[in-house]
Amino acid sequence: MSENGLGRAAPLIYTLTGLIVLFLLLPLIFPIVLSISDTPFITFPPKGFTLQWYGKVLQDADFTSSFGFSVLLSTTAACGAVLLGTPTAVGLVRLSFPGKGFIQALVLSPLIFPSLVTGIALLRLFSSIGSNDAFLNLWIGHVLVTTPYVVRTVSASLVVVDPGLEEAARTLGAGRFTAFWRITRPQIMPGLVAGALFAFVTSFDNYAVSMWLFDASHVPLPMMMLSLISRMFDPGIAAIASLMIFFSLFMVLLLERLAGLRRAMSF
């Protein structure tokens, strides 16, 4: 009975798994169900069918400007994380130097350090040095919390690359940068793509750092959503939630196609 590896308990385990997956998907299903309700307020079960809330939301200046701002912030933060994280990963994997373990722990520490507190520390720093540029402040915060993901995924793909290949290219006359760019970079591309996409998603969803650093003219989407929940009661809010769910599912598919989800999660 061990051909499926689960033994005789398999049917029970599959049933439980189905129920638990349902539990995981519940809060994603209901906003979509409610967003098509043809009523002026949120109600369950939904009555009628309409897509007017999507039309209304897509014309809502608050939502579109905030969405645009989040895309801009997350794209630039992901670029920053890749530019900062890739050399760090190369250094950590390829070089040995005193204090390497310490540096590694430091670079990865924003992963376990509560990002709520990271945000507070940054706010404290920015206000004491008088940095009032909300975009720059948010960007620095987001690069800080997304870089570890890039370091982790790039390191993971770097350890399986044979350094001898790059050395061979160097022996044949390639410069250090050319050797890295032409030989090593193509080999770590999956890790790089996974890291960049994951950095983008993490930044796009981030509220714990953003909530301390945003101002009225720089509002990332999660903060906009949070304020809309408390002052918007028509199904438009459910439509916004649904749009964000669709956007995330699109990112999931992109990650799975380009890099493999489990690799991106580094488990």
Binding site: S2, L116, Y207
Partner: protein, 272 residues
């Protein structure tokens, strides 16, 4: 030399970063004082927040532990196609914004007749329940949000167990339950430890979930620190709460490491 050069930037940033985190520890007013920490521990209102945070995190961790095993078993031991599908289904919600997921739970758990759950209950002829704005709402929401963090390391740990060990136990007459309890469970403890540490830390330091699901009745450290800094502007006290949060997270991580170390040492003693 190239690598050393490009290292200066990240190291410089990280050194500055480590310096940033020293800042919340006071030095604002100039005088060293423990008054803020004493206030957090001595005033009932604030001590309750600490206790609530710990209780919610504990229940969330225990609940996630129970729910994670079936999923992890299927991912690690089930047919490859199904395992892959479950992995995607487990990770997909993780990439959906926490605000959106908390909102989804608000719709489901809504008090009165508007909530999905109460609608379903009244359909079955059961009375309405008031879950939203209680600790249970926060626990249910946190369990859903952080469950993937338990499933993934657990699946990785179970995947590393040699299936032959389980087969051997089964051949020797062990029932499925006995094999799980005596073989799979003990061997998956490292993954379980990582998962528990992650779920506990993340729950204890969350803000959105208690804010949207706990309301003003169920406060956690995350909502308290936000209120103190952004509404009351009490920076030193806010910083003290933030530091307490870090200490809780660090304590749980250190406890896990100590546990692993002790297991490792007792193994080594057995071997010797």
């Amino acid at each position: 030399m190239f690598f050393i050069a490009v290292f200066v930037i990240p190291v410089g940033l990280m050194v500055r970063y480590s310096f940033l985190q020293q800042l919340p520890d006071g030095t604002l007013t100039g005088n060293f004082t423990l008054a803020n920490y004493i206030r957090l521990g001595a005033v009932d209102l604030y001590r309750n927040v600490v206790v609530t945070t710990l209780r919610i995190s504990l229940f969330t961790t225990l609940g996630a532990m129970l729910l994670a095993y079936p999923l992890a078993l299927v991912i690690a031991r089930g047919p490859a196609m199904i395992g892959r599908a479950i992995t995607v289904l487990v990770i997909a919600p993780l990439l959906v914004n926490v605000v959106v997921r908390a909102y989804g739970w608000r719709i489901i758990l809504g008090n009165g007749n508007s909530g999905v759950l109460n609608w379903a209950l009244s359909y079955l002829g059961l009375g309405p329940v008031e879950i939203l704005y209680t600790e249970w709402a926060v626990i249910i929401g946190s369990m859903q949000v952080f469950l993937p963090m338990m499933v993934l390391p657990l699946a990785a740990a179970i995947g590393r167990i040699d299936p032959a060990v389980e087969d051997a136990a089964r051949t020797l007459g062990g029932s499925s339950l006995a094999v799980f309890r005596r073989v799979t469970l003990p061997l998956s403890v490292p993954g379980l430890g990582v998962g528990c540490t992650l779920v506990f830390s993340l729950t204890a330091s969350s803000f959105i979930l208690p804010a949207l699901l706990g309301g003003s009745f169920t406060k956690m450290l995350g909502t308290l620190v936000e209120e103190q800094i952004l509404t009351v502007f009490d920076w030193p006290f806010g910083a003290a709460i933030a530091t307490a949060m870090v200490l809780i997270v660090m304590a749980i991580n250190l406890a896990y490491m100590a546990l692993i170390e002790r297991r490792f040492r007792s193994r080594a003693m057995e071997a010797a």
